[in-house]
């Protein structure tokens, strides 16, 4: 195949990827988008297999079948509540794959047309080491994020002295290694860059707490894109550059949306350590206030007599796997002629859009699920807000209390509705460690118990 033909086919593949993302602008066009993505990938792979230098079809075929079987198995088995972990794990694979491709290019530069062993062009070496560096960070950062999401590693932020200074020093050291690598092209320096970058990846994610994971997962998504970009520059491959830039931009925008949803700068999330320290100071002054408690029958009675109910789900709903029971409750209420809708805060859950997927899994029609901007002005006209597994995202202190760590965060104005039903396991504070004054308001009724059990009990009482 001529070079031009390859370039054209790669261009088609890149356009397919752009259409794949474009399709996600609406649920109805999204499935077609996914097909575009698959077609683009097939074109890219077949085009590459047609290269004159590519001869070992059996090995490559076997590798694709093995990898494909593993990927298919995992993707079909995974529970939707475990999506964030899965995505983190997949990011780590992109990262380490980038490292292997860079290593391959370094050990056999002739196959990639970037020189011969020991005399690779300096620009190629720089691009290669940057791709390796980002790939290795993505790998280890994602593994730790996976551990934190899965619960194998504590989700609490781990903070120690001189953390940022140490990270900065390591970064400088890597820059120094890259310079040495460009001069002597030594394999041992290459692998040192890999190892030190892996270490840095761990150190970068260690101080970041569990509920900041939406930002971290988005950021790692972005990194995996930049890693592909770096490899694209090394191989002078426009398809890799375009795709890497698309993915990088996507992850960066998601990180921005997530940190805006918490009213925090991306920098402060990256530096981490949030949520650990304030825990003790916040409670205490509310200990003498009265909390109104209710049970499933009360909740059923209140909702049955309402005209409109807004359900506010959070991570607690995912943990309790309460989405199906919740949907059942919503269905019964709808049959009674009650206007039932769902309100999703941007940072609800552990990855962007996590709640939307869980509700969709439970067969909640997507047009009943609304974003913060779309539904927030409706709370004053709403009779019942049903908060399940969410806490900080409903805390009015974010609007009034300047000393609160969550001050300025956009929240769902549930307190403006006539009645707030708040499903919660106990009186414990949310992730931010801030007490929620909503619990003590006259129009709030607390429903203590497991989210799933509570929904099932309400369903029984409604029937």
């Amino acid at each position: 195949m001529s070079t031009n033909m390859v370039a054209v086919l790669y261009l088609i593949s890149a356009l397919m990827f752009i259409f794949a993302l474009r399709g996600l602008s609406h649920p109805e066009s999204s499935r077609l988008g996914n097909i575009f993505g698959i077609v683009g990938m097939v074109i890219a792979i077949i085009t590459t297999l047609m290269f004159k230098s590519v001869l070992s079809y059996t090995e490559i075929g076997a590798a694709i079948i093995v990898g494909g079987a593993i990927g298919t198995f995992i993707a079909l088995r995974i529970e939707m509540t475990a999506l964030p972990q899965l995505v983190a794990a997949f990011h780590s694979l992109v990262g380490i794959a980038a490292v292997f491709v860079a290593a391959a290019a370094f050990y056999d530069p002739a196959s990639f047309g970037i020189g011969t062993i020991g005399s690779i062009g300096t620009s190629s070496l720089i691009e290669m080491s940057i791709g390796t560096f980002i790939g290795a960070i993505t790998f280890s950062g994602s593994i730790l994020a996976f551990g934190k999401l899965q619960g194998t590693v504590s989700g609490k932020p781990i903070v120690f002295k001189f953390q940022h200074a140490i990270n900065a020093l390591i970064l400088l050291f890597i820059a120094f290694l890259i310079i040495i690598f460009c001069i002597n092209q030594s394999p041992s320096i290459f692998w040192t860059i890999v190892v030190v970058s892996i270490l840095l990846g761990f150190l970068v994610v260690i101080p970041i707490g569990g509920a900041d994971m939406p930002v971290v997962v988005s950021m790692l998504n972005s990194y995996s894109g930049w890693a592909a970009c770096g490899i694209g520059f090394t191989l002078s491959n426009n398809l890799l550059i375009i795709t890497g830039a698309l993915v990088g931009a996507s992850g960066a925008i998601l990180s921005y949306i997530m940190s805006k949803g918490m009213n925090r700068s991306i920098i402060s999330v990256v530096l981490g350590g949030f949520g650990g320290e304030q825990t003790a100071s916040a409670s205490g002054d509310n200990s003498d206030k009265i909390v109104k408690q209710g049970n499933a029958e009360d909740a059923a009675y209140i909702m049955k007599n309402a005209d409109s109910v807004i359900i506010v789900p959070g991570y607690g709903m995912a943990v309790a796997q309460a989405q199906h029971a919740l949907r059942e409750m919503g269905d019964i209420l709808k049959k009674e002629g009650i206007n039932v809708r769902y309100a999703i805060h941007p940072v609800a859950g552990r990855m962007p859009g996590h709640m939307n997927v869980l509700l969709a899994e439970a067969n909640v029609p997507y047009d009943e699920v609304l974003e913060l901007d779309e539904i927030n002005h409706d709370f004053p006209m709403t009779e019942v807000s049903f908060v399940i597994g969410a806490n900080d995202v409903t805390n009015p202190a974010a609007k009034t209390d300047e000393t609160s760590p969550i001050y300025g965060m956009p929240i769902l104005d549930v307190e403006k509705s006539q009645t707030v039903l708040f499903v919660k396991r106990s009186m414990a504070t949310g992730y931010s460690g801030v007490d929620n004054e909503l619990f003590y308001r006259d129009n709030t009724t607390m429903l203590f118990g497991d989210a799933k059990k509570m929904c099932e009990d309400i369903v029984k009482s409604l029937a």
Binding site: G71, I231, L240, G251
Partner: protein
Amino acid sequence: MEAHSSEVFVIGLTVFFLACIIGYYVVWSVTPALHSPLMGVTNAISSVIIVGAILAAGPLGHDSSKIFGIIGVVLASINIFGGFIVTYRMLSMFKKKPKKEQKD
């Protein structure tokens, strides 16, 4: 050695910045409800890095470069299949449901 004169780099850079701008506008048009599938799809397409791995694994023989290439192909394939399938699963949940209760 056709590659890697400074011209090639500048062309790559041009492509890079234009792609970033396209990415910026396309991603902002994604509805927030589909942000999880967006991550699934971007995850799958970033594994287009398999192209580099196939080139490394291509030549006959068994040098280290080839082994790295094969490993790269396996890892990227996990991601490609896994990413597209999990996205497919997510998106098929967002199908429009027939609303029976409105009719009766």
